[in-house]
């Protein structure tokens, strides 16, 4: 089995190449956890602030103003909300106008008193600009905090007037929920602003870190002048390319795992802080999901390697290969770029059409499915698309390495002076 020998030989060489190994493992780890630390840092630098003016004097043992404050603080914990007590509503409103706070809340003197009257309607004043996402999040928090109090007051009033069991008055129907899961195959809930860009980011990192390895493996043989001898062995070009690709793939698997660990580290650091919704959410990566992620990353890396391998057939040394490949590889990178900001389906039709021609788009779509969902029959098509690209690229690479120029192309560099044509 020729490819097996090439595989073992190359794997040995790769494992002994400490610098390359460090690059493919440490880089993604660092990148993703740095991303996590960074976004966490920026969040603590600019906390979400609301100002709270509590004039409520209470009534009997009840102080609903104080209770509202406590409720808001409790609900706000998920986004590290800071609730600042102010004595003047004027000042509190000015802070919102200045952008120091997202919302100002005014609780009047008779708040608790009014709520204790059976038919009293208390006033609460919010000062906010409804446009921003932050304000919407804060609005929901205040809503929840307030509805707790409203429920409590309603129960008390119903009991006072009718001596009724409020829960039966308010909920005449009991609803039983039987959950039917139509989410991702992994049943995860992700609702953070980072979740959307994560798939594109993962594709970018795995592509960038693995290009160097295959260049070293193929063009390195040319540069160190070992390729010619290898090509004269009975091993076919298919055997050589497959063996080499598989060897690099093993290293890439390690890299994919590093990426995964990087993501988990990042998730741990930031996803709890960057909640778009009220409940703190984190991606809980389940074993099956992790396996799917690694499989998709691996396929992506193989495609990357094969594109690189095909291009490297034209290079005579690694420098040349890195230069030209860096240029061409930046195309898929550029194509992933719009996906960092917009979903594929909301891009203009022409751009979408171009994107569907690129293999990386399918990696993106599959990663999207694995991380966010939902899964659909299209994912099967994407898997086939990725597999098709792999085979096509393998074929092209083998054909390119079958050209005589792969061998004689190096000669011209050696004979600096070419004899005149006779």
């Amino acid at each position: 089995m020729g490819w097996g020998v090439i595989f073992i030989k190359d794997l040995k060489e790769l494992v002994r190449n400490r610098k390359a190994l460090a690059l493919v493992t440490v880089m993604p780890l660092l990148l993703f956890s740095a991303l996590g630390v960074l976004s966490n840092y920026s969040l603590t630098k600019t906390p979400t602030v609301i100002t709270f003016v509590d004039k409520d004097t209470g009534y009997g043992s009840a102080n609903y103003g104080q209770q509202l404050f406590n409720n808001i603080e409790a609900y706000g914990q998920s986004i590290d909300l800071v609730v600042v007590n102010e004595s003047s509503f004027q000042v509190a409103k000015q802070m919102v106008a200045d952008g120091q706070a997202v919302m100002a809340i005014f609780v009047p003197e008779n708040f608790s008193y009014t709520l204790n009257q059976t038919f009293g309607v208390a006033n609460l004043t919010l000062f906010t600009s409804p446009g921003s996402t932050k304000a919407q999040v804060v609005n929901q928090i205040v809503d929840s905090a307030l509805s707790d109090i409203s429920t409590q007051v309603t129960y008390a009033r119903l009991h006072r007037v009718y001596g009724a069991n409020a829960s039966k008055v308010l909920n005449p129907v009991t609803v039983y929920v039987e959950e039917y899961q139509v989410k991702t195959p992994f049943n995860t809930t992700v609702s953070t602003p980072y979740a959307g860009i994560l798939p594109a980011l993962i594709v970018l990192v795995s592509v960038e870190t693995n290009v160097g390895l295959i260049i070293d493996s193929l063009v390195g043989e040319k540069e160190r002048r070992t390729l010619e001898m290898l090509l004269v062995t009975p091993i076919s070009r298919w055997g050589i390319i497959i063996g080499k690709t598989l060897a690099v793939l093993v290293i890439s698997l390690v890299s994919a795992i590093a990426i995964l660990v990087g993501i988990i580290l990042e998730v741990g650091l930031t996803f709890s802080g960057l909640a778009q919704s009220i409940t703190p959410t984190a991606i809980q990566i389940k074993p099956l999901q992790a396996a799917a992620l690694i499989a998709i990353l691996t396929a992506t890396v193989v495609v990357t390697q094969l594109i690189t391998a095909a291009l490297s057939a034209y290079a005579t040394n690694t420098k040349e290969a890195n230069a030209s490949i860096g240029l061409v590889m930046s195309l898929p990178v550029l194509s992933m770029y719009p996906l960092l900001f917009s979903s594929l389906f909301s891009l203009p039709h022409l751009v979408q059409a171009v994107m569907y021609l690129l293999p990386f788009t399918y990696s993106y779509l599959l990663l999207n499915m694995a991380l966010i969902g939902p899964a659909s029959l299209f994912d099967v098509v994407y898997v086939f698309a990725l597999a098709g690209y792999t085979l096509l690229l393998l074929y092209i690479t083998v054909k390119l390495y079958g050209r005589e120029a792969v061998i004689v192309g190096t000669t011209r560099k050696i004979h600096l002076r070419k004899p005149k044509t006779r």
Binding site: G2, V5, I6, I8, K9, K12, E13, R16, N17, R224, R225, T226, E228, M229, L230, L231, V232, T233, P234, I235, S236, E404, I407, V408, T411, I414, H415, R417, K418, P419, K420, T421, R422
Partner: protein, 241 residues
């Protein structure tokens, strides 16, 4: 049967004819030397012999078949011009893997490798990485990689180029032994005096053509030792004109 039969081999790169019709035969138990200045077309000829490139016209028969076929290739070895060793493989590993690549079983490859390491005097470099070897030791390792499959035909492109006098002599002695064992060898050099001691047949090549070809002894008798050197110089053109 002859080990190699080349008839009217021609190779053109676009407009430029690198090899313009060369014919020769190499018998088993003999060494054939292709001698000529840089750019004469020696490497291109050897690449056609090893099946790496196809002749534009003419035909090549190696060990009774087409040199690009796997079964023929496992019985021959090529040491390409300026070949390098694997920097991250040890001397042992490099030779061993080339045994496997040419179809030896693991145990065969192990035995052959250990044997060759002894024969080549590489005992104390058994586990040394390629990157740590001197030029001479690298060439010995490469020879080991070529000999591991006990090839019937050995094709060597400038095997002594860049070696010091002692290492070069080592290589030549090695080749002499292999010829005595009945192997066929093709070797090139741009240095006449250096290679004629191992060659049974010599072909002087210039500008893609063989200008003189014959048995080394006959040529020597015909022209005399010193004159042979002169003959080479007058028959061939300098690389830098």
């Amino acid at each position: 049967m002859d080990a190699v039969v080349a008839s009217d081999l021609r190779k053109a790169f676009g407009e430029f004819t690198a090899v313009g019709g060369v014919s020769f035969k190499v018998e088993f138990g003999t060494a054939f030397a292709l001698i000529g200045p840089n750019g004469a077309g020696k490497t291109t000829t050897l690449r056609m012999v090893s099946g790496l490139i196809r002749p534009t016209s003419g035909s090549i028969m190696v060990l009774g078949g087409d040199p690009s076929v796997g079964s023929i290739r496992s019985k021959m070895s090529i040491l390409p011009e300026d070949a390098g060793v694997y920097e991250k493989l040890t001397v042992y590993e490099a030779i061993y893997y080339y045994g496997l690549l040419r179809g030896l079983s693991r145990s065969e490859a192990e035995l052959r490798t250990e044997h060759l390491i002894k024969v080549l005097g590489l005992d104390d470099k058994h586990d040394e990485y390629g990157s740590k070897l001197s030029k001479g030791l690298k060439r010995k390792t490469l020879l080991g990689m070529c000999l591991v499959n006990d090839p019937q035909l050995l094709v060597l492109d400038e095997p002594t180029d860049g070696l010091d006098v002692r290492s070069a002599k080592n290589v030549r002695d090695m080749l002499g032994k292999l010829v005595d064992e009945g192997k066929a060898i093709i070797v090139t050099s741009h240095n006449m005096s250096e290679i004629r001691s191992v060659a049974d047949t010599i072909a002087i090549m210039d500008k893609g053509r063989i200008v003189v070809q014959g048995e080394a002894e006959k040529l020597l008798a015909e022209y005399g030792s010193d004159n042979l050197e002169d003959l080479f110089l007058t028959l061939t053109t300098s690389e830098v004109e």
